[in-house]
Symmetry: C2
Amino acid sequence: MGEVLRGACVIGQSGGPTSVINASAYGVIRTALDSDVITKVYGAAHGILGVMNDVLYDMGKEDPAELELLLHTPSSALGSCRYKLKDSEIDDSDYKRILDVFKKYNIRYFFYNGGNDSMDTCNKISKYMQKVGYPCNIIGVPKTIDNDLLGTDHCPGFPSAAKYIATSCMELYLDARVYDTGMICVLEIMGRHAGWLTAASSIASYFGMGPDLIYVPERVFEIESFVRDVQKVYNETGKCIIAVSEGIHDANGKLIAQMGSDELKTDAFGHKQLGGLAATLADILKEKTGAKVRGIEFSLLQRCAAHCASEVDVQESFLAGKAAVEFAVSGVSDKMVGFERSSNEQGDYVCKIKLMGLTDVANAEKKLPPEWINPEGNNILPAFVDYALPLIQGSPKIVYENGLPRFSRLKKVRAE
Amino acid sequence: MGEVLRGACVIGQSGGPTSVINASAYGVIRTALDSDVITKVYGAAHGILGVMNDVLYDMGKEDPAELELLLHTPSSALGSCRYKLKDSEIDDSDYKRILDVFKKYNIRYFFYNGGNDSMDTCNKISKYMQKVGYPCNIIGVPKTIDNDLLGTDHCPGFPSAAKYIATSCMELYLDARVYDTGMICVLEIMGRHAGWLTAASSIASYFGMGPDLIYVPERVFEIESFVRDVQKVYNETGKCIIAVSEGIHDANGKLIAQMGSDELKTDAFGHKQLGGLAATLADILKEKTGAKVRGIEFSLLQRCAAHCASEVDVQESFLAGKAAVEFAVSGVSDKMVGFERSSNEQGDYVCKIKLMGLTDVANAEKKLPPEWINPEGNNILPAFVDYALPLIQGSPKIVYENGLPRFSRLKKVRAE
């Protein structure tokens, strides 16, 4: 437990952006601006790099209406980074620099908004400040579309990406089956180590408009059984839609995405394939089945489609940021805000805020529960749908202007 | 001018589906079901193939609420086809078959919902029925995301695809620029012969969140000047987003998408590229600039994203179908319904229905006006934005269930 401090706060955003990371930032910024003990609210340009480079924005100089638009503005409005802090025992120069900037602006609150790696950064800074005896309450605010942070029921960002994926799968299902000819479609979905996002395609399947087969990195991917699975569905129905995680790999852990179709084909008359996993698998299936095969990569679209966000996610993301500030000003430090799933008297889903030790979440990874994957390893079971459905509810309250979303435009006034 | 006839009608959908082709179908079906002179309303399975194969659905057997959901259900609910009728002078067997089925069901109204090729089909059937003296009022209902039908201000389907593209470009703009490192992004957009859809990305640019460079098939694509354009923007800003039509081609008309990066590179140390145009161009730019380059293909998503449709498009598509039936029962035949742009007393956009001869629209193509492309051939001018903005207004009134769009599920009861 840290102290109740009077001073400035800084918020940084880090790692891959999401549709709702700005909703969390707004939760932090709005609550901090309204706080009695927080004297100034700074935004760090490009995460911890903004602190180290002394590029801080004065969030009090922003138009409150523009700040509120952050609720539905995708990507990281303050800019992001993928900078990894060294171990302070080996090289503490970054930490000294951060401490200098903290002292310069009398920063007594630090909020870091990101995934696994960002929680590692947050944890390291927290431990360093404790070691050197600089009073500063430090709280991590989670985000990641990958949903792989340990100890929290789910992560802000995941529900919106899941909703976009399930919605797009339904639409593609209808589109791809429109002709009376054979059709195979391979959908490539993000997730290097965990299959949460790819599993989201099963929500569409549950309602009769989704993939026939789903492959996640929690299981070893075998090209022969994959081709056999697809051929079986295709022979029976003339159509097959397949969802694959970008992170599927062979028994040695080698990514399928890093192999050419040459390497994957038993009959090697092929060519090097650079167009990504979906294109590689489509190429193989084309040759094996003779069908019309299309590979579609959801790419960045799945993490920035704020127009198709889950309003539950938007509100929870905001609350995570708000709670972080409320805990910090009440003296809490060295924690990450997390979510606990609960229900009200009517049995409806309720999300409760909890706290976790930064050390416990930093660098750990949460995978799909094995019992949610079917024994054949080519589909997701309905238990996942039960888990995911409450999270993807509600349409985002986007402000439209000229028929397009009116996203936030911050002035980004440099701190003095 | 045809006769006022009493009898059944059939509607068929043909060509690539869109987010709103079902809204037009609903316009036809609902209006026909409510008509006094139309005795039965049939839907043809997979367009004209459904007529030839005698696979017709009795639309009167559908739940009216499910039919209404067609307004916001993407793809062609009746199924589509890409079947090209032969010239009846050379081989009239298809036409005889169609006439037999028309006689069997006493079909006196035929509505065909599609793009250029479908209007060709519609026109040929219309002329054949005239020739053999079978009274049947035949009207084409336009649809195409490509917006390339002649004589109409715009085509149902284009505004929704344009809205999805502009919205996604804004979201990708924010996402792709999030790090403080160099970034180049190539967006591949549909449009083989006309650049209307790719030009839609310029709406995002107009509001400050879109591509820096835009290439359409109306201009010859030169790889050297393309690389030079990109390098210039990238050197100045460290970022560059580029939108390209799938149909960009060299001076000989050869599609860039059909060339490998080998063929395109002056220094040929490369490899054959199968991942599509965006991947090919990304590969080239990676080598020329050393930057992180990402290729993103909007693929089928851009034509089926009903969740991001333009409500103006939904309503106009419905009206096109409704008008087709109203004209037909009043005796009009051998026409396609088209749109004329007008304005009311307040100067606001108004869409008026007009009629065009099927012969005049069949197989013709409308390209982007040359004066809407900048002299350098690497961007789109604001005149396009003025044209497109009224079309992309309004959010679709999607019915949601379980957090996902509730798309129509037809029973498809076979006609007796």
